[in-house]
Symmetry: C2
Subunit: 545 residues, 2 copies
Amino acid sequence: MDYLPPARAIMLTGFMGTGKSTNGRRLARRLGLDFLDTDDLVEEAAGKTIRAIFEEEGEQAFRDLETEALGRSLAGPRSVIATGGGIMLRAENVAMMKAGGPVICLQASPKTILSRTSCRDTRPLLQGEDPLGTIKTLMDERRDAYGLADYAVSADNADRGTVLERMCEHLAGDPRTAVLVEASQRVMVRAGSAQYRIHIQRGAFHALDRLCPARSKEARCLIVTTKPIAELYADLVTASLAAGGWDPDVIALADGEATKTLDGAAALYDRLIDRRVDSAGMVFALGGGVVGDLAGFVAATYRRGIAFAQLPTSLLAQVDASSGGKVAVNHPRGKNLIGTFHQPAGVVIDTATLDTLPERELRSGLAEIIKHAAIADADMFGFLESELEAFLALDEVAVRYILARNCQIKARFVEQDPWDRGQRAVLNYGHTIGHAVERCAGEWDLRHGEAVAIGMVAEARLAHKIGICDELTVARQLAIIEKAGLPTTAPPIDMTEAAESLMLDKKISGGRLRLPLVPAIGQVKVLTDIEPDALREALMYVAHE
Amino acid sequence: MDYLPPARAIMLTGFMGTGKSTNGRRLARRLGLDFLDTDDLVEEAAGKTIRAIFEEEGEQAFRDLETEALGRSLAGPRSVIATGGGIMLRAENVAMMKAGGPVICLQASPKTILSRTSCRDTRPLLQGEDPLGTIKTLMDERRDAYGLADYAVSADNADRGTVLERMCEHLAGDPRTAVLVEASQRVMVRAGSAQYRIHIQRGAFHALDRLCPARSKEARCLIVTTKPIAELYADLVTASLAAGGWDPDVIALADGEATKTLDGAAALYDRLIDRRVDSAGMVFALGGGVVGDLAGFVAATYRRGIAFAQLPTSLLAQVDASSGGKVAVNHPRGKNLIGTFHQPAGVVIDTATLDTLPERELRSGLAEIIKHAAIADADMFGFLESELEAFLALDEVAVRYILARNCQIKARFVEQDPWDRGQRAVLNYGHTIGHAVERCAGEWDLRHGEAVAIGMVAEARLAHKIGICDELTVARQLAIIEKAGLPTTAPPIDMTEAAESLMLDKKISGGRLRLPLVPAIGQVKVLTDIEPDALREALMYVAHE
């Protein structure tokens, strides 16, 4: 898979009036890139308008400034750059542009261009007697130059969506930009009659006014979060929601599973009633899986269900728990025993939250990502093999690509099985043995993702042992888990106890164990005839060395 | 509307082998009537088989016994009677039959009859050399007699369902039996993707093994009920479910709203976990609305939702709360604030439970029935006007007719608006003012139904005052409410406080009051522009005299 380094920039050129700035801005927003306009940079650098530069210093001076601006743009962060219409007349510019990334030329007929430019007097080249003639002459002069662009897209009478989609189609097929496009996809989840979007964007929490606007006046909402997350994001999220017409209140719980109980839910009901949140109100779950489960359960059961949105801040919640609609609280005698299904109205992932996530949490979240790739997405597995460092370094494109692919995989399983009646069971890969290890971890501080990693190693080896996969499939999983800095063996726990816990598992004792295994990277197969002895043996594969 | 006295009996006649007994039994079960067979009664009375009577005493003796048996059958409870094939040869029998109710003649071809009778030697008339010839001769002889039946139904090569449906079609169009058929309808509710049946039957709790069988081995269920109801029905329901393959447990709560809280729900979760009820388990709500709401809420939220069935024992729960899927517990600061939607897997109404219902509860339940009739069913309103005494005397047909029609009305509203997003609001007729009175009733022991009756009187008068209905529409509602023994004025409560409570109603203070009123019996119209003053005045219409 071609990935890094993707294009530094996507450049838009074309005649004046073809909509380079407008469409460039849209493309940048879609791809989550910065947007630059060489005309703006030129005016900024010169301290005067382009018209003034032309009038006072001549076209040559403008072209020099333009070349300089292009160079600066390409040296900055990855971006979409709208250029002046004559930029490709200079060979030096063309060389820089071709090295920087794909160039898209927007095209329109002379008449369209005239109609779009006739009201303005800021275009120095069209100030003569016969503007249509001038346009035609200029277009002829530039035809060869525009022919150097990689892609031509018609902006004639096309609606804005069409131009954007056509540009994205070209870019999705271009190895320099395929990952950029993929990473920008908004993921739709359809679960039963519910349908919602997962937004993945750096800075998305700044845009909640646009992403989750209030739908009525005096709309009250409750932001449920934890104290550590509140310190980082509560002010931002509150302000962003207030800008969207909400009257937000924040409840910051203690960190950890202890609040995810019926009593914890009761405290939230009290708060919702205190604040007179009615059925037009909403709950925002800002935090990890615990917050999402608890806040979602309360939203599901307050006034027979009010809307809620997930604002997941941990990698694990972003790629897994935030979509799918499973909400619950714990009972003293079992996790998630009290719960229901309540699909969120939306999921907003601000990738900037990963900047503040402790590295161990980041690596732990990677376990579920590796699991998704192993059972359902060989491409993503390959991407992880080559680009894991970029992801761990929080390269924005790598992060968004991984999140988008993961959310797509999760969405697909949720759509096939919205009420978790069977098919979603494949998502339990690595979890059967992982849970047994986790339950016996005791004082050994083990994250859920770490236990899943250990479980995957054991279950991959089991799959090879019983002959359903080859050695390479096991080796690739082991290698990526190691590369992610995740454990491949259990801590020095009592393995006899873990084996007992494994056998006591309801699913096994009932004789109905459904064990998902990976026959080849990107594929999954649910086995129903695994012998308890084989399972116990698999546990020993990951015994502490 | 033609109603009482409906036919004493529905009689089936026709040649031997046309399936009179089999189809008669099916018809009786469908209509909830007793089933009798004159041949059985004759054998019982004579103490010997029909063949023996024919051989030892001759056909004449048999015919005398048969006439006697027919007379006895028609004097007993309402029933379906299968008769001997020759019964209509006697004018005396025909006269009795025509006076008793509709006669259906089942018909089949001689060949069909031969094939159905040839293996038996219990038919004394077909013991000769040429049975087919005998059949044809006998059929010719009886043609005129069978022509006296009201309806002819072909039983030739028809499947059993078809014969039953054809008989019911005839009976539904016959004024002597229309109510019997109507009362026997099983009501289907479709709510979103859920679909379930409301069974209405005397003795239905004895048939839970058939109506709610366990679907897997070791199926555990919890019967949630109250102590008073448990004394009456817990043993019966437990035994009936056990016969259906369930391993039932009973939890009997204190009577009243006090248990319908989050703590009450927690106690049920504990019990379900204690009993290791898993996702194949089920909750049965045996009791009134409080039990249904609480048990339904717990079923909705235990292990992300398990199945539950409503076994409502109060009239109010039977006609209203048991279908529709609204489940909830109370919060100290408001009823039903914690709740969700969870459609039952089925509703089983045993009309025998009304025998033990205190008369005041019966009358209170009538208020919602009158409300349903007023807003949606002019026919049922007319039925109530003429047959209220029969209903209060628990005449089985009147009871089942009323329950079936009510459940149909409720089902229709639920189907149109499964998540209660607007259209179900018409069910609040009588409730706006009724609730205000109920909230201020204090020490005055007022049932919910009584408050609704008072509310309907006030709102009917309001409708007339503002010119949307005529005086007769008000008078008919007032008359039926009085006839039901329900109050038409409030107890001597503080009406100023009630008016304040009315104005504080969230729906009114938010300026969005949607008030359903009745422009004509059987119709409803939601008004959104009612002046607060008009509403306050309406409250005064029902002030204590």
